[in-house]
């Protein structure tokens, strides 16, 4: 039987076309995204710096990631054109702080607005109150705005550094906000101090904690889904590191092996706007689980050995990453050397002709911006978003990551929940 299922309560909407057996078990699922906006062609012909205003508008929840990818792309084009740039450690650190904030707020919204809500619905339980989490995500975004001026849609990073010139007062405010966020995560989300969470994962005692995250795991357990959602076991990180994990082995990655496959798109007679992103011709999983495994985070590595790339491991990876990001932001704030310049003026963009690539780790995985610049103008622009890795739709003989994860799940509703463990973003996928 074929069923078309509209997936809402994500960024945008997606359609899953399920093929099910008589028992209801999912035999195959195609993933389609139907909204296309043409961001790349909007960028073409413009001054390269305009990308710092236009590119964040690809996505309302991870626009800051697009800003940082775009600025890195332009800086890379400077190098390609033979010009040097100085980005001070302070400017680097501030970019990392604001980018990490975006990941933290994303992960908390995913937990409260999407996962707890949808899994509770399947169990016919009153969804938990998301408002308490939204207050905390507003604090995370406030921390970001102390440096970036605003969130969403800041354009405060330019080739050469950042535009802000913070004082100790902003740094102190940021640390205070971070402490409040940390208290919330410890008390409400995890049910244990942040530094203990990884130990709980390692000793497989995380399910007995009392926090909203263990409520989610409990929902999955009752739905018999903790062990579902296994996929190819191939992982990729191209931003913070450049490595792949497959067949149990971590190897260096080469961004030149990344390709896009548009065979299933409307343009080629298919039925989606989303192009698949492939590495060396294969589908790879990107995102928090990939980052934890390739970054050899102890707790997630231990869980992976025991439970493989199941829903449980994937859910835990996003929470483990939230813990890590909070501690990273604290370290960066405490070690910020305010005496360094925020910005070192580079050669004017009009002198730059070259090709640039900017890769960063966005909330959902590796984000790539690539462009050809002629005398400061964008000639061509290409964006590969994280969801193109995870939510690609392949053929039955070459399945995408989330596609494979849904096969064998006992009902459409449950398979849709497994789909959401990948943190779906339709607006990014079909930029």
């Amino acid at each position: 039987m074929i069923t078309h299922e509209l997936i809402e309560r994500i960024e945008g909407e997606a359609v899953l076309d399920f093929k099910t057996a008589k028992s209801g078990v999912v035999e195959h699922a195609d993933i389609r995204f139907l909204h296309f906006r043409g961001m790349e062609s909007i960028l073409e012909g413009r001054n390269a710096l305009d990308a710092l205003v236009i590119a964040p508008r690809v996505c309302g929840i991870c626009g800051h990631s697009h800003l940082i990818a775009a600025v890195r792309m332009i800086e890379n084009a400077y190098i390609d054109a033979g010009f040097s740039l100085t980005i001070t450690p302070k400017a680097q650190a501030i970019r990392e702080i604001t980018l990490n904030c975006e990941l933290i707020q994303n992960h908390l919204k995913w937990l409260y607005l999407v996962m707890l809500h949808e899994s509770g619905k399947l169990l016919a339980e009153e969804p938990p109150v998301a408002l308490k989490a939204l207050y905390v995500t507003s604090q995370v975004n406030q921390l970001c705005a102390l440096f970036s001026g605003q969130w969403p849609h800041s354009s405060y990073a330019l080739p050469g550094g950042v535009t802000c010139d913070p004082t100790h007062i902003e740094v102190m405010q940021a640390l205070k906000l971070l402490s409040e966020v940390e208290q919330f995560v410890a008390k409400e989300v995890l049910g244990c101090p942040l530094e203990k969470f990884e130990l709980h994962l390692k000793s497989d005692s995380h399910r007995v904690l009392e926090g909203d995250f263990s409520t989610l795991l409990n929902h999955f357990e009752r739905l018999n889904l903790l062990d579902a959602g296994k996929t190819h076991g191939r992982f990729l990180v191209l931003g913070s590191q450049s490595a792949i994990l497959s067949n149990g082995e971590i190897r260096n990655a080469d961004a030149d092996l990344v390709s896009e496959d548009s065979s299933q798109t409307f343009a080629q007679g298919g039925n989606t706007y989303a192009k698949n992103a492939l590495y060396n011709g294969d589908f790879y999983e990107s995102g928090p689980l990939a980052r934890a495994l390739i970054g050899e985070r102890e707790g997630i590595t231990a869980l992976y050995q025991q439970y493989s790339d199941s829903a449980q491991t994937r859910l835990c990876a996003r929470m483990d990453e939230t813990v890590k990001l909070i501690s990273d932001v604290r370290y960066l704030l405490k070690n910020l050397d305010l005496s360094q310049p925020s910005f070192v003026t580079p050669t004017a963009i009009e002198y730059i002709s070259g090709t640039g690539i900017g890769i960063i780790e966005a909330p959902r995985g590796s984000l790539i911006h690539r462009a050809r610049i002629e005398k400061g103008k964008i000639v061509s622009y290409s964006i590969i978003t994280p969801t193109q890795w995870n939510l690609g739709s392949g053929s039955p003989t070459n399945l995408g990551v989330a596609q494979r994860a849904m096969i064998g799940v006992e009902s459409i509703a449950k398979a849709s929940l497994i789909f959401r463990t990948f943190d779906v973003c339709s607006v990014c996928t079909t930029h």
Partner: protein, 297 residues
């Protein structure tokens, strides 16, 4: 006032969008108290009584229809073209808000597809699909909208306060200010001291870095972003995101004519500007030429 007033019944519908206004709205720290007097019939992320599929089937009446994103007649939500969703919902709504610059004027996505418009305006012209219902449409432009601006207007609707609007149907109490008002660099503007480079606290960004604050309507520096800052406070130029002309080109440099900014501060005749600028520049204010916070002084 009745002790238990009925909640404002709101439909939040998305056209062609990045979801930026949705996420901006979630940043309002007072969201909880606002939502006590609101019931969402539909919202893309918050708890609501109807899913999108149910919404497009029922097309219910509402007290307030909020439309986020730009409009194209054949753009589909849940398999239904927008012209068959927006118009029936709009007719049955008491109030309508065009939320964000896409819904207001067409915005960024119009740059890639000329069929795209706002719901009331198409750039500067009133050429959107709701032009016959213009009286009940309030335009809240901005890319994205400031969460408080939306919350304030929702409160005003709840309390029955009459909302005065400008030529683009934007509430005057929010959009009569310029982004320039309240900017921490105002003194540099007054004395025509430009910013030599990005990443400093000193100098005005209007002369070389492309800041559009002196001719862009919005309370960004009165009602701060995320409670703490704004683009110009973080040293970034205003990109004019609340205006129908957004996005212009060359956003990080100021177009000049005979070394004078080509676009004048709003309402200021060029001759007056030149006279004042000449006078201001003839003085050298030592304090404004040095560091704002000078550790060696």
């Amino acid at each position: 006032m009745p002790s238990n007033p009925a909640k404002l019944r709101v439909i939040w519908l998305q056209g062609i969008t990045c979801n930026g206004n949705t996420h901006s709205f979630l940043n309002d720290p007072s969201l909880g108290s606002l939502l006590e007097s609101v019931e969402f019939i539909h919202h893309p992320l918050l708890p609501c009584t109807k899913s999108l599929s149910e919404l497009v089937k029922k097309l219910p009446k509402s007290d307030l229809l909020i439309f986020e994103g730009s409009y194209r007649a054949d753009f589909e939500r849940a398999g239904v073209p927008m012209e068959n969703i927006l118009l029936p919902l709009a007719v049955k709504a008491k109030h309508i808000i065009a939320l964000g610059s896409c819904a207001s004027f067409g915005g960024i996505f119009k740059e890639g597809d000329d069929r795209i418009t706002g719901i009331l305006f198409d750039k500067e012209e009133m050429g959107g699909p709701l032009r016959d219902l213009s009286k009940k449409v309030i335009v809240l432009s901005g890319c994205p909208i400031h969460p408080k601006w939306l919350s304030f207007v929702m409160e005003m609707i709840i309390q029955g306060i009459k909302i005065g609007v400008d030529e683009y149907h934007r509430p005057k109490e929010l959009y009569s200010y310029l982004v320039h008002n309240g900017c921490l660099r105002n003194e540099y503007f007054e004395w025509k001291v430009d910013s030599e480079r990005f990443g400093t606290k000193e100098g005005c960004l209007f002369y070389a870095q492309g800041c559009q604050g002196p001719f862009t309507h919005g309370s960004c520096n009165k009602i701060l972003w995320n409670e703490v800052s704004s683009k110009t406070r973080a040293g970034a130029p205003c990109v004019g995101c609340t205006e129908p002309s957004f996005p212009k080109r060359e956003l990080f440099s100021t177009k000049t004519y005979m070394s004078i900014p080509a676009e004048m501060p709003l309402g200021v005749p060029k001759r007056s500007y030149l006279a004042l600028a000449g006078a201001a520049k003839s003085f050298h204010i030592k304090r404004l030429e040095g560091k704002l916070i000078d550790d060696n002084a």
